[in-house]
């Protein structure tokens, strides 16, 4: 295995894992800082806008909305934080409050769509980070263009 192949075989999974954990961090790891920050802000803002609109109980629901939750899991750290928040909220509720609907269907639907789309967008970000890690020349070219004032 050449150094180039060895480097790519380590960098690709690390970039993918970092991109899953925190959106855009995979790109920052590859040296594409501005691109990473744009992705971080966009994906994170989309996810938490969804949670704010629908409420965490109705939006991040692995029991009633399994497929949507699968999409949300692609945002990694955001979903973990939202799930922990949901568990804390659930612990504070009385049995009667637990039986009541978590939210009206309209904001809940919007929230689920926002968070689900944020997850699927981050899947695209993860795949892009992995693909760029496997093509170091393309990353170097992007970096050079950025430092040349094209950022």
């Amino acid at each position: 295995m050449s150094n180039h192949e060895e480097s790519a075989s380590i960098r690709a999974p690390v970039a993918g894992l970092l991109a899953w954990l925190i959106p855009g961090l995979g790109h920052v790891y590859l040296g594409l800082r501005t691109r990473g920050v744009v992705l971080l802000v966009t994906v994170t803002a989309t996810f938490w806008t969804g949670v704010a609109v629908g409420g965490v109980r109705a939006t991040v629901d692995p029991y009633e909305r399994r497929l949507w939750f699968t999409a949300q899991v692609c945002t990694g750290g955001n979903t973990i934080a939202a799930y922990v928040l949901r568990q804390r909220v659930e612990q504070r509720l009385t049995p009667a409050e637990k039986m009541a609907p978590a939210s009206h269907w309209l904001p809940a639907d919007v929230g689920v769509h926002y968070t689900g789309v944020a997850g699927l967008l981050n899947l695209l970000v993860i795949l892009d980070a992995v693909a760029r890690a496997e093509r170091p020349r393309a990353v170097a070219r992007s970096r050079n263009l950025a430092t040349a004032g094209s950022s």
Binding site: R35, G55, R57
Partner: protein
């Protein structure tokens, strides 16, 4: 402050149908930003490309909606 922030994410916001419709625009913008950030060679060309894609998505969705509406009204 922490309580206010917590309340923002724990309880839902009441929405009307029109407000739900308007929330389509920022979601389409997010899709356009992420897609173009992964595709553009340089970030300098990003704002123009994002705007073009965002308009394309919104106009495309309106066109599809209008098409279905015309089909529905002509059949019913």
């Amino acid at each position: 402050m922490n309580g206010l922030m917590l309340a923002l994410f724990t309880s839902s916001i009441d929405l009307t149908g029109a407000q739900r419709f308007l929330l389509m625009f920022p979601l389409c913008l997010s899709i356009a930003v992420v897609y173009k950030t992964t595709r553009c060679e340089t970030l300098r060309e990003l704002p123009g490309a994002v705007l073009l894609l965002w308009v394309t998505i919104v106009v495309g969705m309106f066109a599809v909606g209008l098409g279905f509406w015309v089909l529905f009204t002509s059949l019913v």
